[in-house]
Amino acid sequence: MPISQLIPGQPVLSWILAYLLLTLVLYFIRHSAHQLLDNLTQLVVQNLRLLSKALLNTSKHMSIRNRDVLLEHGQQQAERELERQFIRLAKLVEKDLSRYPTVQRNIEENITSMEDKLLQTSQVPSPLPEWTEAVESISKLKDSTKNDAVVGKLLQAIYEAFHKQQNEVMKVYRGDIEKRHTLLKSAMNHWRRLHHKLTEVGNEWHHLIKQANKMDHQIERFENLMQGTDKAENLLKSSNTTQFFISLIVMGIASFGAFVNYNLIALPMSELMPSTSQIAGFNVADIGAAVIIMLEITVGLFFMESIGITRLFPVIHFMEDKKRMIWAWVCITFLLALCGVEAGLAYMREVMMSDKAMLTSFLVGGEEAASSIAAQPHSNIPLIGQMTLGFILPLILMFVAIPFESLVHTGRHLLGNLMVQICLVLSTLLRNLATLLKQLNHSFKNVYDIIDFPPIWIEHLIENRPIKKAIKDDHTNEPTIALENQDVTQDPALIESSSKDKEA
C-alpha cells in the first residue's frame, strides 16, 4: 500500500502520519542506532589504525634492511676498490723493488768512480826546490860583499835559474791542475747519473706515497662504511641513484640492440622451427629467435663473470683461477659459435628476402618480370652488412653484463626505498581514512538527530521544565535538581544534542 494512501483521500496527512511514525521509531531506537554506528566505526577505525601501524612498522623494517643492503653493497664496492688499489700498489712495489738492486749497484759504482777521481785530484804537486834558503843566506851577506862581482854574478845565476825553475814548476803545476780539472770534469757525468738515479727513486717514492694516500682515503671510506655513518650512507645513496639511471639508459640502448638482433634472425628462424605452431599466442619461431638472443646474453654474462669483470654469480667468482679461465674459454667458444649461427641466419634471411621479392615479381608480372629481376646485377653489401651485424651484435650484447650488474645492485635499494615510500603513503592514507570515518560517524549521528528532531526536542522540553520550575518555586528542592542534573550529565548524547540545538 502506498504511503499516501494510509489515510484514504488525505495524502498530505498520510505523509505527515508516516513521518511522525518514522520519527517515533527512530526516537525509540536512537540509542541503539547510535551505539551500532559507534561500534561499527570503532571496529573499522581500529582495524585501519592497526593496518596503518603495521605498514609503518614494515616501512621501518624495510628502511633498516635497505640501509643494511646499501651499506653492504657499498662495502663490497669499497672492498673491490681497495683490492684494486692493493694490486696496483703491489705491482708498483714489485716493479720498483726489483729494480732497486740495479739502481743501488749503479749508484755505488758512480760513487766509487767519483771517489777515485777525487783521490786522483787530491795528489800534492812537487815542492819548490830549496832555492829560497840559498837566496835567503846570500841576502844576509854583509853590505860590503854586496857589491862584489862574484856575488852579483852568483845572484844573477841564481835569479836566472830560479826563473827557469819557476817556469818549469809552474808548467808542471798547470799541467797537474789541468789533469785534476779533467778528472773533475769526468766526475761530473757520475754526478749527473747519480742525480738522475736519485731523482728517479724520488719520483717512484712520490708515486708510492700518492698511492698510499689514495689507499688511506679508501680505507677511511671503508671504515666509515663499516661504521655505517650517515655521511657514508648519504654518499652511497646519491651514487646509487646516479648509477641506477645510467645503467637504465645503457640497458635501454642495449634492448634496442637486442631488438635489432631479434629482427635479424626472426624470419630465418621460421625455416628452422615450425612457424605454424604457437605458444601463448606467439610463434614458436619468434620465441626461438628470442631464446637465441637470451642465450647469447646469458653466455656473455657468464664470460664477463669468469674474467672477473662482474660479480653476479658467486659460484663462478669463487672458482679456482685455472678453472675460471677454462670456464671463460668455454663461454667464449659458445658465444662465438652463437655468433656464427647468427651470421648464418643473417645470410639465410637475405636469401629468403630475395626469394620473396622474386616470388612477388613473379606473381605481379609473371615469368618475364621474375627473370628480368633475377638478371639484374645486385650488390652484396646488404648481405655482408647483415652477416657482420649478426656476428658482432651478440658480442656487443655481452657487455650488457656490466650495466645489468649495476642495475641489479642499485635497483634493489631503489625498489626497497620505493616500497618504503608506498608503505608510508598507505599508512598515512589509512590513518586519514580512519579519521574520516570517525567524522562521518559523527555526521551520521547528527543527521539522524536532525531527522528525528521533534521527539528529541519534546524530550528536552520535558526534561528542562521541572528543573527551571523547581529553581523558581522552591530553592529547598536541590537534591531533585542535583539528581536531574546528574541524569543530564550522564547522557553525553543528550548533552551533545542539546548543545547542537543551542547552536542551531
Binding site: 625455416e271 612457424s275 605454424t276 610463434n283 629468403m352 626469394d355 620473396k356 606473381l363 605481379v364
Partner: protein, 216 residues
C-alpha cells in the same frame, strides 16, 4: 646429487609444460570458385590477379584451393589446384610458384561450360575446407551468381556453412539485369538468404581494385 636430480626434474617438467602449451597457429582455408560458364570466362584474367594477390598474402600452414564451376561442380575433378603451404617459407614460396603456374595453364586452356552449378561448388568447398581443419574458412565465388543446372541435377538441399565466410566477387550484371535490375537484386538477395540461412557470413565485393575489401 639430489639437487642435480631436482633441477633436471624441473627442467623436464618445464619442457613438458612448454610442449603442452604449444598450440597450432590459426590457419586460413580459402576456396575460390571460378565461374567458367558462357562469356564469364573473359573475366578470368581478373580472377588470376586475385589468386596471385592471395598467394602473396597467405602464409605457411594456410590452405588454398581453386575450383571451377561448371555443369556439375560437386566433384574433386573440378579442383584446378589445391595446396596447404609448408611451414618453411622457402618451401611455401615454391608451392606458390607451382600453384600460380597451374592457374595460368588452366586459364589459358579453359573451355566454357554450358551450365553453372554454384551450389555443387559450395558443397565441394565446404567438404574441402572441413578436411583442412582451418580455423578460418573462406569461400569466394567469382561468378555472376546466375545458376543454371543441367536436367536431372538436384540442388534443393540445405547448406551447412556454419562459421564460414562466403564472399561473392565480381558479380557482373547480365544483359537481362540491365533490362530489369530487379532480377540482379533478386539474385543477390537469394544468395545472401541462402548463405546466411546456412550459418555463414555473406559479403559482395565488386570493386576488385579495393585492396581493403579483398584483404583476409
Amino acid at each position: 646429487m639430489a639437487r642435480v636430480y631436482k633441477v633436471s626434474l624441473l627442467v623436464i617438467l618445464s619442457c613438458l609444460v612448454l610442449s603442452g602449451c604449444t598450440e597450432k597457429k590459426p590457419a586460413t582455408g580459402l576456396y575460390l570458385l571460378l565461374d567458367t560458364s558462357g562469356t564469364y570466362t573473359k573475366e578470368l584474367k581478373k580472377a588470376q590477379q586475385i589468386i596471385h594477390y592471395y598467394l602473396a598474402n597467405l602464409g605457411p600452414g594456410d590452405s588454398f584451393a581453386v575450383a571451377r564451376i561448371d555443369s556439375g561442380s560437386f566433384s574433386e575433378k573440378d579442383i584446378v589446384a589445391k595446396v596447404t603451404f609448408d611451414h618453411r617459407p622457402s618451401q611455401a614460396n615454391e608451392q606458390k610458384r607451382i600453384f600460380a603456374q597451374a592457374i595460368a595453364h588452366f586459364i589459358e586452356t579453359i573451355k566454357s561450360s554450358a551450365y553453372t552449378d554454384i551450389n555443387g561448388g559450395l558443397l565441394q568447398a565446404s567438404e574441402y575446407l572441413d578436411e583442412t581443419s582451418a580455423s578460418r574458412k573462406i569461400v569466394m565465388i567469382f561468378s555472376d551468381l546466375k545458376e543454371e543446372l543441367p536436367k536431372g541435377y538436384n540442388r534443393n538441399f540445405d547448406l551447412t556453412l556454419s562459421g564460414y565466410e562466403v564472399i561473392a566477387l565480381n558479380v557482373t550484371k547480365l544483359n537481362s539485369d540491365n533490362r530489369d535490375p530487379q532480377q540482379y537484386m533478386k539474385r543477390l538477395d537469394y544468395w545472401q538468404n541462402r548463405i546466411e540461412t546456412s550459418g555463414a557470413q555473406w559479403r559482395v565485393v565488386n570493386d576488385l581494385e579495393r585492396e581493403k575489401a579483398l584483404a583476409l
